[in-house]
């Protein structure tokens, strides 16, 4: 331990305390490690950000609508019975229906709590594993041109994944939740590769 008096030749309690803290500091703290590059962040909540024109497929849309009601009721009951992530605040649970080129058994559930800052819980199953070069992204969406990213998550080798976080903006301004498969290429725009959706 370094004698703090050696700093000035006179005793100084504040400097001494600080000197003690500096002497006790881990060697690595003097030279912190270089962090890896920051992975892509969700798109900014701005209309000005890049948005790709998404291809609307009416047939799939109708099919998704039809499946939502039945799947929603069933999955909601199953979710509640399982008692997963039960919270003390009121929330609603809905099913996510597969869309696009998602695997035939792809599905999932959506829960949004009624807290002051609502939390969102998305569970997916039966979807393609992400590996290291891809991730799934959750979106609040009105249309292909009006959407806000909620966040990204990975899916394991069994095709199961979960996203949990707080909503960056109120969901009341949006009609859909969309889950898309995104390449980890740093492009914050929607990939156009949606796999699951539901109305909210």
């Amino acid at each position: 331990m370094i004698d703090p008096r050696d700093l000035t030749g006179a005793e100084s309690e504040p400097l001494g305390s600080l000197a003690d803290r500096l002497s006790a500091l881990d060697a690595e703290a003097w030279d912190p490690p270089a962090p890896p590059p920051l992975r892509s962040l969700p798109a900014e909540p701005s209309a000005a950000r890049a948005r790709r024109g998404l291809v609307v497929r009416p047939g799939l849309a109708v099919a998704a609508c039809g499946g939502l009601l039945a799947a929603g009721i069933g999955a909601g009951i199953a979710f509640e019975r399982a008692g997963r992530q039960d919270t003390t605040v009121a929330s609603r649970t809905q099913a996510l229906a597969r869309v696009g080129d998602a695997p035939a058994l792809a599905g999932g559930t959506l829960r949004i709590t009624n807290e002051e800052i609502p939390r969102i819980l998305v569970d997916v199953h039966g979807v393609a594993p992400t590996g290291s070069g891809r991730f799934y992204e959750v979106w609040l969406m009105n249309s292909a041109d009006d959407l806000v990213s909620v966040g990204g998550f990975r899916v394991d080798d069994k095709g199961v994944g979960r996203f949990e976080g707080s909503l960056p903006v109120p969901s009341s301004g949006f009609k859909f939740i969309d889950v898309s498969l995104e390449p980890a290429d740093g492009n914050p725009a929607h990939s156009k590769d949606s796999v699951l959706q539901t109305e909210i």
């Binding site: 370094i2 700093l7 000035t8 030749g9 504040p14 400097l15 000197a19 803290r21 500096l22 002497s23 006790a24 500091l25 881990d26 060697a27 690595e28 703290a29 003097w30 912190p32 490690p33 270089a34 962090p35 890896p36 920051l38 992975r39 962040l41 969700p42 900014e44 909540p45 701005s46 209309a47 000005a48 998404l54 609307v56 497929r57 799939l60 849309a61 998704a64 609508c65 939502l68 869309v99 009105n142 249309s143 292909a144 041109d145 009006d146 806000v148 990204g152 976080g165 707080s166 960056p168 903006v169 009609k175 859909f176 898309s180 929607h190 156009k192 590769d193 949606s194 959706q197 109305e199």
Partner: protein, 209 residues
């Protein structure tokens, strides 16, 4: 990818208007941080990236020490700064500094990871059992150390280098003077100035802690 019956959205509902808000700027926020806080509250990616550049190394160092696993620490680091972006809109500078806020997010993330880990078997007869420390308490000690590390980075390079030679390398002021070719009196003066400046930074941060 079909948003079901997605209507066209009038231009007046563009996202930009929804997110414009008057930022809450506390009196303790430095001028250089005000613009950063505003950007953070508007959830601009540039703000999170600047914070990552400023504090990413320190956050990673702290997480690595807490988790004893560099790979896990890097994963958690990404989650921390995703949280910074997500929660930036609700950041209130009157309640704490950006540094403390970020390190607190990292601390909580690290605790979550540690709690999810399977506990290692402990020999109840062994000495480690009796001296086993509270991991959360350890984490809070580490948080204090790495907060200090972050503040050292805000000193001028010649100041932090001087302090490193003194406190990390254990050199006397006379040895520093000989090694650097700086007069001993100048070394002493600069050391006191560096310590004073560091103490100011600490006091400013610890008011927020």
């Amino acid at each position: 990818m079909p948003p079901v019956n997605a209507p066209s959205i009038p231009q007046s509902r563009a996202r930009t208007s929804r997110f414009e808000r008057a930022p809450v700027i506390g009196r303790r926020v430095g001028r250089e941080d005000r613009q950063l806080v505003r950007s953070l509250q508007r959830q601009e990616q540039s703000a999170t990236r600047e914070l990552y550049e400023r504090y990413g190394g320190v956050t990673l160092g702290m997480l690595t020490k807490m988790l004893h696993d560099r790979t896990a620490a890097e994963d958690v680091l990404q989650e921390v700064y995703l949280d910074v972006w997500r929660r930036g809109a609700s950041f209130d500078p009157a309640r704490g500094s950006l540094l403390n806020w970020i390190l607190a997010i990292a601390r909580n993330r690290a605790i979550d990871v540690l709690r999810k880990r399977s506990p290692e078997p402990v020999d109840p007869q062994g000495p480690a059992f009796a001296t086993r420390a509270d991991p959360v308490s350890d984490i809070d000690i580490l948080l204090g150390e790495w907060r200090l590390a972050a503040l050292l980075k805000r000193l001028r390079p010649e100041e932090s280098q001087l302090l490193a030679m003194r406190f990390r390398d254990g050199l006397s002021q006379r040895e520093i003077a000989e090694k650097t070719g700086i007069a001993l009196g100048t070394v002493k003066l600069r050391m006191v100035q560096a310590m004073d400046r560091l103490r100011e930074l600490i006091e400013r941060e610890e008011v927020h802690a």
